[in-house]
């Protein structure tokens, strides 16, 4: 035990003192936020304001109505133009307009307009054409309201009187599916990132020990299994440290914003407080830690086995690790379906099978225990994950023991299974 402790300590200290650890701890959340806000900022900015000519032959789309619509929504600008469609089409390129819409003379307010063509010289994105469609529809609604004699008061009633449906779990009064979805996604992504980054770190570390022949020196004083376990636990603790730092970041930011609360921040704080009241935070945090560590141990021992099987060649390592990464990536693609229906068969099975349970179960837990996830499912999932990582560690340990001292050509999957099955 003493020797494993030494290995863990070395592994942990060398990793934590590295510049890359400090940088990634700081930069990853920053990059993550930049990605989220940046992409929404960019997509909000890039929509170009289109100048569209409306050639009206029906008399419904009067210049006044168009001007009013432009005042309400300036994402695209409509212009009332009197010209013949054929003529206008020819001169479109030289004009200042991006495109034109022709309202046919036979338009009828009771039956609606047929599909209108937005004629342009270049292909316009779906988003822009939706914007124009929305604007044309609002003008058309105004026309209908006028014809039907609906005044401003009636219009207000029509617009504000609506029905909304929101989910409410009668067994779990505090459940809030919006916040649950958010927590589910965030913890799913975090576990995904940790599994990917630290899993491959385990693999690279094992490869380093093999190619530098350190394994040969160390294996003559400790068992290969101890060396592997020490490495995995050491790197696991590094991952855990990083997560702890991030969680304390969040708590500090929360407290700081709480003290200096200005009116603009009230909304945000309200939401965060909402998170704290609507979710069982201690349980979620416990489960998050459990599934993060469980998933890490489940996968990293296999990453270690892969690392022990290959030689210097990075490409070999990559091709061997693809089958390992597949279930992790697959869990991420499942997460959408799970969040939509957290009690459906995909969600239940995904959260019990240990290959996907770390991510899938973590996506479900914020929806409420035992409201969405019955206790027996949580218990079963945890038990299977623990059994799973004991099995993979044992299995990987056997591959590792042979692989770490084997030089030469890359072994096939069949050979590796043979190593694992061999007695002693």
């Amino acid at each position: 035990m003493h020797k494993i402790w030494l290995i863990i300590k070395r592994e942990y200290l060398t990793k934590v003192r590295k510049k890359t650890f400090i940088l990634s701890t700081i930069l990853l959340p920053v990059l993550y936020l930049a990605l989220i806000f940046g992409s929404s900022y960019i997509s909000g900015k890039t929509g170009k304001q289109l100048q569209i000519a409306v050639i009206d032959s029906s008399g419904y789309f009067t210049p006044e109505k168009i001007t009013m619509a432009n005042m309400q929504d300036s994402s695209n600008i409509l212009h009332h133009v009197t010209s013949s469609p054929a003529e206008f089409g020819k001169t479109l390129e030289k004009s200042n307009y991006d495109g034109y819409v022709v309202i046919p003379a036979n338009a009828n307010w009771e039956t609606g307009l047929p599909n209108l063509a937005l004629n342009t010289n270049r292909t316009i994105g779906m988003e822009s054409s939706f914007g124009i469609q929305k604007k044309m529809n609002s003008i058309w609604t105004n026309i209908k309201n006028e014809k039907l004699g609906i005044d401003a008061n009636r219009k207000r009633i029509m617009e504000t009187s609506t029905v909304t449906v929101s989910p409410k779990n009668i067994r779990d009064k505090n459940a809030n599916s919006g916040i649950a979805t958010l927590i589910g996604i965030v913890s799913g992504i975090l576990i995904y990132i940790i599994l990917m980054i630290y899993g491959s770190q385990v693999m690279m570390g094992v490869m380093e020990e093999k190619t530098n022949r350190i394994a040969e020196v160390i294996v003559s004083s400790v068992k290969p299994f101890q060396l592997m376990l020490g490495k995995i636990v050491g790197i696991g603790l590094v991952a855990f440290t990083q997560i702890l730092i991030w969680i304390s970041f969040i708590l500090i930011i929360y407290n700081v914003t709480n003290i200096g609360s200005t009116t603009s921040m009230d909304g945000v704080i309200g939401q965060i407080q909402n998170v704290f009241t609507s979710t069982n935070i201690p349980l979620v945090l416990f489960c998050f830690t459990f599934y993060l560590m469980g998933g890490f141990f489940f996968y990293s021992s296999m990453f270690a086995a892969m690392g022990s099987a290959v030689n210097e060649d990075m490409r070999e390592a990559q091709s061997l690790s693809i089958p390992l990464m597949m279930p992790i990536i697959f869990s991420m693609t499942m997460i959408g379906a799970v969040l939509k229906d957290p009690t459906g068969p995909i969600a239940v099975w995904g959260s019990i099978i240990p290959f996907t349970s770390p991510i899938i179960m973590m996506a479900r837990i914020p929806f409420g225990v035992p409201g969405t996830v019955p206790w027996w499912q949580l218990g079963l999932s945890m038990t299977i994950l623990i059994a799973g990582f004991i099995f993979t560690t044992w299995f990987a340990g056997k591959i590792y023991r042979t692989g770490i001292l084997m030089y030469g050509k890359k072994p096939s999957w069949k050979e590796m299974i043979k190593w694992a099955m061999r007695k002693n």
Partner: protein, 310 residues
């Protein structure tokens, strides 16, 4: 008393009988040379003795008891042929870590590392990284790490490769020193001149089999061809009934082979009777190199792969 004995050790790989029924006895305090051409099975044999590989068959007896790799590791110091060090780790920390893995306490390890570093003039290296060292410097560090925990059995795989003569001598002296203090040293090499200089016992393996073992003296006696070099100005021309035949003639030095049933004294007597002035008379023992080549000769230079059926 033997520090280590191996009996009928076997290790087969898919395409090689790497070690095929080897038995050895290594006396305590000896410097034992394990010789053999490339691919003879030396490293595999060593890896079994160090507990890295499990033998397929046979047993290893360390200090009179069955070898238990986990608990006996502290008695063994192993230096692999290719250097095994963390490139990015500081040298002092690395030595401390590896010594602790061998079972030394932190303070003990620290004391011994300081001592060795001083003796090898490596004190300024403490905070350097291994990647900053030259190959020879890494070799020195690796040697220190191997012997730091005062193992009873030290196994060195090609310890002198990459060392300049000064550092070679430094390590050679340390090897003698360690042996004098009771450690047993096994070293594997294919450099015969070093073996002759250092080892008292040797074993020669080829194709997974042991083909020779014993003390250097015994082996030389066994393979001697009764050759003597005689320093005389001129060999008498008529050699009737001489107890020897002349192998080669050079000015002032003549090599002769003594005939069976004759002794060196017979040669001297014969020459004295002939009234020849003798300057020198030396037995010419074969060098290990000659023996090695003679024994290994005829086997293909590169070991062939074979199907293993067992």
């Amino acid at each position: 008393m033997n520090i280590i004995e191996v009996h009928n050790l076997k290790k087969y790989f898919a395409t090689q009988k790497a070690v095929d029924d080897i038995s050895l006895e290594i006396p305590r305090g000896s410097i034992f040379g394990l010789l053999g051409p490339n691919g003879a099975g030396k490293t595999t044999l060593i890896r079994m003795i160090t507990g890295i590989f499990y033998p397929d068959a046979g047993e290893i007896i360390l200090k009179g008891k069955k070898f238990d790799p986990e608990n006996d590791a502290k008695y063994i110091g192993y230096m692999p042929e290719e250097r095994g060090l963390y490139k990015k780790m500081k040298i002092g920390e690395q030595a401390l870590y590896l010594a602790q893995l061998k079972g030394l306490s932190r303070s003990d390890a620290m004391y011994k590392i300081k001592d060795w570093f001083k003796r090898f003039e490596m004190e300024s290296w403490w905070n350097k990284k291994v990647e900053d060292l030259s190959k020879g410097m890494q070799q020195k560090l690796q040697f220190v790490i191997t012997v730091l925990h005062e193992p009873k059995l030290i196994i060195l795989d090609e310890p002198f490769s990459g060392l300049d003569p000064v550092n070679s001598n430094l390590i050679k002296d340390e090897i003698f020193n360690l042996a004098k203090n009771g450690a047993t040293i096994i070293f594997s090499t294919h450099r015969m001149e070093q073996v002759e200089e250092i080892c008292d016992h040797i074993a020669l393996v080829n194709k997974g089999n042991k083909i020779l073992d014993g003390t250097v003296r015994e082996i030389k006696q066994e393979f001697k061809e009764n050759l003597f070099s005689i320093g005389i100005d001129e060999m008498p021309t008529a050699l009737d009934a001489a107890p020897f035949e002349v192998v080669s003639n050079k000015a002032h030095s003549h090599i002769v082979r003594i005939k069976d049933d004759n002794k060196p004294n017979d040669v001297l007597q014969y020459l004295l009777q002939k009234n020849v002035a003798i300057h020198s008379f030396n037995e010419m023992l074969p060098s290990l190199n000659d023996i090695f080549i003679k024994l290994v000769e005829g086997t293909p230079t590169a070991r062939q792969f074979q199907k293993v059926t067992s």
